[in-house]
Symmetry: C2
Subunit: 431 residues, 2 copies
């Protein structure tokens, strides 16, 4: 089965800049099965599972868990439009005392080499063996820079305005020790040992140059757990992600990725071309309170039916909300404070962020309440046009607010993908 | 696809007591795919994946992630010989103040009804919706009683001698708050949301009758991450579980399950017929220290090759250890303190326990070290002939000891499976 030529790749959203659409499977990859998909870093949709929603995609998704490989090189970094993986690690690092731009550049070079190897199912330097036997398993590794990174590396003058601190929200209960950080890494894979293996390898690479500031674990539905690819559910039981922009939308790239030339001062962000900004929030769900609500009340809080995610105004999951429909009681069917109304793209000048979260569950607290919720990760070309206006509106009047608590927050500049021979962030750190 | 008749069940180890080998798929199960397996509670081997290791088993394992259903009713409880699942929760409860035998019986009745429903992919009472869309996903729920349970329920006279406290081991650093407990529940599933859904449902059932004492999360390789079913690896990168007894072994049942009539005083354990004893240990791995060892030193600590788990004396993973083979240096090739030598079944009167662990990773501690390791769960008819003698030997001279720390411990009597119309533990609580 090894060295099989893979012809059944998906149709990636590739502008042709870099040839990522077809390549020969490596021996180590092919060993994991002959039916693997190759996913371009710019391909796929940020929803529950691989495939296009048709019946035929199902078999591929089910038979390619281990063999599916996501490309490291590309216009964009992997892990942004890659389909949600079953397992995720988020980890922030602070540069070690004394480490500056040179050490950061060397670290990003090591990290990029490791990410490229493990995403292809190959061993890393000094490999621990934890991922042996398994295929690439859709592993992605994504690197970002926090606001403080630019001060630490003498690059303050080149810090994008988009990294200005997020405004404070009244529902925030942020723990600074679990927030922000010089560097941020997102790891996702469809196998927990493959993901852990990557985390350990990257932590080892950082030795001496950077130290872990915080680290969180998350999960999504397993590939094949549903009969066909479906929008994910969160731990409140709600279908979550219906309104996400699709890579096939005409304005998807403009909303999610930084254009060539950057925003703001001309050329100031050229190194961010093809990049995106990630807002990361640890959103604790107060599940005991939530689950005390009747199904009817839960559905009014959200404005959608729990069973299938359809708007309370009718139709199916993808039917647009009818925000102006009134019920016999003279009130809008989708309440004025319903979460789906307030966050609706049409209420916010179009969806300007791509939500790509993991659920988390860190056990049950001493009082019996689960320490569980959403590792919310959203992607946008500009957080001031993506996350911030929506969160500001939610903060004022969202019926869901009493049931969630934002416990940690991070904002990171995620550079464009590395070209062959390049490492992530090179255009910032070496020019 | 719903209501499909399933004919491709695996060959379960079924003694014919209860008809668990073939049944019509429920609508809710069939909706998750037409290729589902049904696994009898007594079927399968406690290793990495479903199937018998032949090539044909692979396709089934890969296409049945969501649809595979494990039977609740059976001679034994599910989750003992069931193939390892990708996700696991261990949770211990203490009975609430004032709760006794009557409340415990009512709780086990509720728990059994919930377990039966969610294992079949059906909703539980007051369902949260978290598992909607997904199939049963090999969910198992297993119930056990701790030593203290018998005092709390006025059943001290019927407490099996096998629940006598384990001896103290020199490598123990046990946290009593995360050890033991009146009641123990093991949850496993191939989908993280399905597992969490079951955990929440069972916690809700306990409300008023029992409170969570401790709870731990674990994981194993995802179905389909490897090209064919393989023995699992642990977070040290070692193949782990090679020497496990197989359900096809002639003496498997005698070693793992309590026989009719029980041990000790005649009839004293009749309610444990078909049951087993679970030893649960949270074994922290000191991965930073471990990974500093060279591959050669790691292999000498274990006595097996890391790449494929074969003994250092040659062959493949399943080749017996040659414990008497000497190297050119005049020493045994498998060192005298090698972990595999000390724990070898042939050194301990035959393997008398079935190891069925989950790995755990609860993040990275403040000092940068991962809080990770093994949620060791082993099953045996009698812990004094299974876990205890092996652990006593390991405690004295295992080369692996400096790299692990036992942080929590539990010992639970896991009654036999419930017959149709019965709940787990009924034979103890109502007779």
């Amino acid at each position: 089965m090894s060295n099989a030529v893979n012809d059944s790749v998906d149709d990636s959203v590739d502008d042709g800049t870099i040839d990522i659409s077809r390549r020969r499977l490596l021996g180590t990859v092919g060993a994991a099965g002959a039916t693997g998909l190759l996913i371009g870093a710019a391909g796929g949709a940020g929803i529950a599972a691989a495939g296009d929603g048709s019946g035929t995609a199902d078999a591929s998704a089910l038979t390619s868990v281990g063999a599916t490989e996501v490309m490291f090189h590309g216009k964009h970094q992997a892990g942004i439009t890659t389909p949600l993986q079953a397992r995720g690690h988020l980890v922030a690092f602070d540069l070690a005392p004394g480490a500056g731009r040179k050490e950061a550049a060397a670290l990003l070079r090591r990290w990029s080499a490791t990410a490229k190897a493990v995403m292809a199912g190959r061993p890393s330097t000094g490999d621990t063996g934890i991922a042996l036997d398994a295929g690439p398993s859709s592993l992605t590794v994504t690197f970002g820079f926090g606001r403080s990174f630019f001060d630490r590396t003498g690059l303050t003058a080149r810090r994008p305005q988009q990294l200005d601190p997020l405004p404070a929200f009244s529902s925030d209960a942020l723990d600074p020790k679990r927030s922000e950080g010089d560097l941020w890494v997102q790891i996702g894979a469809d196998d927990a040992l493959v993901a852990f293996h990557a985390l350990r390898a990257l932590q080892k690479d950082a030795d001496g140059a950077a130290r872990v500031r915080w680290q969180m674990n998350g999960f999504n539905r397993s590939a094949g757990a549903t009969a066909r690819p479906m929008t994910a559910r969160n731990l409140m039981g709600q279908v979550d992600g219906t309104g996400n922009p699709k890579p096939t939308d005409a304005d998807f790239d403009r909303r999610i990725f930084v254009p060539r030339g950057g925003q703001g001062a001309a050329g100031a962000q050229e190194w961010m071309a093809g990049g995106s900004y990630a807002v990361v929030r640890r959103i604790r769900m107060l599940l005991d309170d939530w689950e005390k609500l009747s199904l009817e009340k839960q559905e009014k809080v959200i404005g959608r039916r729990k069973a299938d995610g359809a708007p309370l105004t009718g139709g199916s999951e993808t039917t647009p909300l009818d925000l102006d429909k009134f019920g016999p009681d003279g009130k809008t069917v989708i309440p004025d404070n319903a979460h789906s109304r307030i966050s609706a793209p049409e209420q916010n000048g179009g969806a300007a962020m791509l939500r790509r979260p993991f659920s988390f569950h860190d056990g049950i607290a001493a009082d019996g309440t689960p320490d569980a919720g959403l590792l919310f990760v959203c992607w946008q070309a500009d957080p001031l046009r993506g996350f911030v206006p929506v969160q500001r509106k939610l903060d004022r009047g969202d019926a869901l607010s009493p049931f969630v608590r934002h416990e940690a927050s991070g904002l990171f500049a995620v550079p464009g993908g590395a070209a062959e021979g390049e490492y992530v962030g090179q255009r910032l750190l070496e020019s």
